[in-house]
């Protein structure tokens, strides 16, 4: 067991955890932040993507103890109060989701994608999503959603 202290969505959370506990399970099971999902066990699908110290990371591939002292943002912490994040707006406007299971991870990945490249081309968006799998949408509306967010200046 080890003691961790992680700032999640702006709130400092401390807990005794098993050293093998994955960050995603810390978020989901201990903090009840179930918006972060698990879709695989080989670090491919990206459903678990969160921001660790401002950059997207697959929380299934990080132990909670590795995030000790870090700032973590999950999908629940992305909106500014009642105001949706431009990427959330984009996904809604452009029908960027169907079952919604991949969506939190897609959005969190896209946050970093637009941060690094505020005006990406379509191909850059598609390449930038290589770490995130969606089985429902065929990606086209996800691409549109990210373009929508980019057009509204999300990456600035």
């Amino acid at each position: 067991m080890a003691r961790v202290s992680i700032t999640v969505n702006g709130r400092k959370r401390s807990a005794e955890v098993e050293t093998r506990l994955l960050l995603v399970h810390f978020l989901r099971e201990q903090l009840n932040l179930t918006g972060t999902h698990v879709g695989c066990d080989t670090s491919q699908c990206g459903a678990c993507t969160v921001l660790v110290d401002g950059r997207s990371a697959k929380s299934c591939t990080v132990f909670a103890v590795q995030a000790d002292g870090a700032e973590v943002t999950t999908i629940e912490g992305l909106a500014d109060g009642d105001r949706l994040h431009p990427l959330q707006e984009g996904f809604w406007e452009e029908h960027g989701l169907q079952c919604g299971y991949c969506t939190p991870g897609m959005i969190m990945s896209a946050v970093t994608l637009l941060h690094d490249n505020p005006a990406p081309t379509e191909q850059q968006i598609r390449d930038g999503l290589d770490g995130n799998l969606c089985r429902c949408t065929g990606y086209q509306h996800i691409v549109n959603a990210i373009q929508h967010a980019a057009a509204s200046g999300s990456g600035r």
Partner: protein
């Protein structure tokens, strides 16, 4: 009464109402359900493909701190009966947890109940099992020789079903081959090819999962499951746990995709329910992705010997289709029925005068197959369309033209095919023309030829499809072929409606609200659609076979019509008008021609619940239900065109262009329809290019994770180009046909045809999927495909 005029919503690109919760991480999927005292299950699974269990030692597992109990298959069999199936075909004994013989890698052999999922997994790993290995068979044609293994003693030569005949002159009593033999005797050309429509993993991004909570004090069970059909789940869970259906409440919370794989009721669900009842504890099991590849059903896996007979002018005279379906180790819910759809749809969009289809289903040491998006229809369309393409090539005719020559003419509907399907409506030439125009077919041909002149390997493929959706009436579906809805106008004029079509991404909360808002003349925000909970939705079947709109939407429309009719009676009494003269719009009910004579929708609703003068013959309240059963299936259709390039050095295929023209009848929400088609295309293209479940000869899965099984990524696709034609169906009041599977069905064959076209300079006629670069490289380098 200066309220703004409400727009008509049906046919509009309305944003989804499901999305705000899902984009903020506020949806509740099954793994998000927590109950006080809940324990977790983990399964110990067979790591060999075929063997007899000699011994199981659970002592080390039981000793793990936090373990509540461990059960072997033999112990489970004491209180849980065999797995039921939903088809009339004979089926071998199949247990949720094996007790003597294991027949595929991943089959459960023991189950652990523990404090949390980490402990449960540790303990499952600590169960030790000794097997006496048995010979393994993975090739279906070899399995039919009965060598080297027979999986089930009652099924000699591993033949699960058949050979079943279908088509011209096939009746239950006899098979008359005269017509088909004559067609082949008269033919100028016969194209013959063995083709494989290979095995796929459905792979919803949310794995399966279940929470079972039996409450002894109530003698009642609540079961949450990632399922496409909670009512069917309820039926089977009740039957296997010895409870009445009134004692079981099944809930499909948010469901993270299904694609057919979550129609089934799986062993893990039965075990969770049975153990919860036995232990009096809430229990959760959630599948790992690596388990999903082993234990969630697979799809497709049908091989065909196709012979197509035609005249020199391209007129098709006859089709022979000998099908062998590799269904894996056991029958699941609909397993045996799925390949029969391949026979049913063998005529595709063509007026083929003579067809002989035969089907044999075979047991092998693999994961069982069942419905995966398209379910039997993609296979049929693939076989026929590849053969049509080969015919076009043989005759030197444009692939579009050879198809056009054989279309069922638009004035011949309803059209009965030689395999017994009765197509409701269709205009295939229109879809073809729209697709050729949209793609710029002649221009594409010139582009292709120019690329070839530069030495590039570019090809074009075209396919036509018709598929079967909205399955009904009940004679065609073991679950019943209807759907149910109840529409309630509440006292405040808001509307609550239920649907048995339990969605998993289809957006029914939006489309159904659009429909009711229009029907009742109220804002969409005043309508709420309830689904996925048998405690709230009284009856239902579920979401599969692209039936939500065609059957579920129709039931909603009928229930809405009934409640509207009753409401008109109350309004007529209030307004002293004739009920036939009332207009429902903009949140008011008014008398036609005298708009000042009106009541608000909410006032009439309130009156219906406190009718101080109850109109004669009327009961108070506004809540009406409807069951809708269609008289026939619907048959959507379309035309897909692909352009593809193969890298000469590496053999790697790259999709350059994808055009899809689909006709699903009337569309409620074109935005959602596009999403459905995009997703379908992605899966159909995935099959052609990069997806394949593979086994070694000893039955070990070689594609057990996302590291080995490729589902498409965003960078695998160009931007899809879509268009619709609209040919309504007469079999339901909406004229909607269904669209969930279309993209998957139409796209696969045109991708393969494009690859064959790209490689035509190397003398190749056909290449089996998936189009692995190595396979194409061999063609380029003079080897066999």
């Amino acid at each position: 009464m200066a309220s703004p005029v409400l727009p008509k919503l049906v046919g509009q690109r309305v944003k989804r109402r499901e999305d705000p919760r899902l984009i903020q991480g506020r949806g509740t999927y099954v793994d998000d359900v927590k109950i006080t005292g809940m324990q977790h299950l983990a399964f110990k699974r067979s790591d060999i493909a075929h063997g007899r269990i000699r011994s199981i030692d659970t002592s080390a597992a039981e000793a793990v701190d936090g373990v509540e109990a461990v059960f072997t298959g033999a112990q489970i069999a004491e209180f849980l009966g065999p797995m039921p199936i939903g088809t009339p075909f004979p089926s071998p004994d199949h247990r949720a947890v094996a007790s003597d013989v294991v027949r595929y890698v991943g089959e459960p052999v023991a189950v652990v109940v523990a404090r949390d999922r980490y402990v449960a997994r540790d303990a499952a790993d600590a169960v030790t099992i000794e097997y006496d290995p048995l010979p393994v068979v993975v090739d279906p044609e070899q399995a039919l020789t009965g060598q080297p293994a027979v999986l089930h003693a009652d099924f000699p030569n591993n033949a699960a079903v058949g050979p079943l005949p279908s088509g011209t002159g096939a009746s239950p009593k006899a098979v008359d081959d005269t017509a088909i033999d004559q067609a082949f005797a008269e033919a100028d050309v016969v194209v013959s090819q063995r083709m494989v429509n290979h095995r796929l993993a459905p792979t919803s991004i949310e794995p399966r999962g279940v929470v079972a909570h039996y409450e002894p004090g109530k003698d009642a069970m609540t079961i949450w499951s990632s399922t496409q059909n909670p009512h069917i789940l309820r039926t089977f869970i009740a039957a296997l746990t010895g409870l009445g259906q009134d004692q079981v409440r099944a809930i499909a919370p948010e469901v993270g995709g299904g694609f057919g794989s979550k129609i089934n009721i799986y062993g893990e669900e039965y075990v969770a329910a049975a153990l919860s009842k036995r232990l009096g504890l809430p229990l959760k099991w959630v599948e790992d992705r690596s388990e999903a590849f082993l234990c969630t059903i697979h799809g497709r896996d049908i091989l065909a010997y196709v012979d197509l007979a035609a005249r020199r002018d391209g007129t098709v005279l006859g089709l022979k289709l000998r099908l062998v379906a590799d269904i894996g180790a056991y029958n699941m819910l609909l397993t045996a029925a799925i390949p029969t759809l391949t026979m049913t749809m063998a005529s595709n969009v063509y007026a083929i005068p003579a067809i002989r289809a035969t089907l044999t289903e075979v047991f092998t040491n693999k994961t069982p197959t069942d419905a995966y998006r398209g379910a039997g229809r993609p296979e049929a369309i693939y076989f026929v369309e590849r053969a049509m393409d080969m015919l076009a090539r043989e005759l030197g005719v444009d692939p579009a033209e050879v198809r056009r020559r054989n279309f069922i003419p638009s004035d011949r509907f309803p059209f009965k095919t030689q395999t017994g399907a009765v197509y409701d409506s269709g205009d295939y030439a229109k879809a073809l023309d729209r697709a050729l125009e949209k793609a710029g077919w002649e221009g594409l041909k010139a582009e292709r030829d120019a690329a070839r002149a530069e030495g590039r390997l570019v090809g074009l493929g075209l396919s036509m499809y018709v598929e079967v959706c909205g399955v009904g009436p009940s004679s065609g579906l073991p679950t019943g072929g209807w759907e149910h809805s109840q529409v309630t106008v509440e006292r405040d004029g808001r509307v609550s409606a239920t649907t048995g079509a339990s969605p998993h991404g289809q957006g029914n909360e939006t489309t159904f609200a659009q429909m009711l808002a229009d029907q009742l003349g109220i804002p969409m925000e005043h309508v709420r659609i309830h689904h996925g909970d048998t405690g709230v939705v009284k009856q239902g079947i579920g979401t599969f076979g692209s039936r939500s709109q065609a059957v579920g939407g129709a039931a909603l429309h009928l229930a809405g019509g009934k409640v509207k009719k009753k409401m008109a009676k109350f309004a007529a009494a209030l307004l002293e008008a004739h009920e036939g003269d009332l207009v429902f719009e903009n949140g008011t009910i008014s008398v036609k021609g005298s708009p000042s004579s009106a009541k608000s929708f909410a006032d009439v609703a309130g009156y219906a619940y406190r009718p101080v003068k109850l109109p004669e013959g009327l009961e108070p309240g506004l809540s009406e239900e409807a069951f809708f059963e269609p008289s026939n299936n619907t048959y959507p259709f379309g035309c897909h065109i692909a352009m593809l390039e193969v890298d000469r050095d590496t053999g790697e295929p790259r999709l350059l262009k994808m055009v899809a023209v689909d006709d699903a009848g009337h569309l409620i929400n074109p935005l959602i329809v596009e999403g459905q088609i995009h997703g379908g295309l992605a899966q159909g293209i995935g099959q052609a290019l990069i997806e394949e479940v593979a086994y070694s000869d000893d039955g070990q899965p070689l594609t057990g994770s996302f590291m080995d099984y490729a589902i498409p990524r965003a960078s695998d696709f160009p931007r899809f180009e879509l268009e619709s034609t609209v040919t309504p169906t007469p079999v339901n009041p909406l004229g909607a046909k269904g669209v969930g599977e279309a993209g998957t069905i139409g796209s696969t064959p045109c991708i393969v045809s494009a690859a064959v076209d790209a490689l035509s300079g190397f003398g190749v006629r056909h290449v089996d999927m998936m189009l692995r670069p190595e396979r194409l490289w061999r063609v380029i380098n003079g080897g066999q495909a």
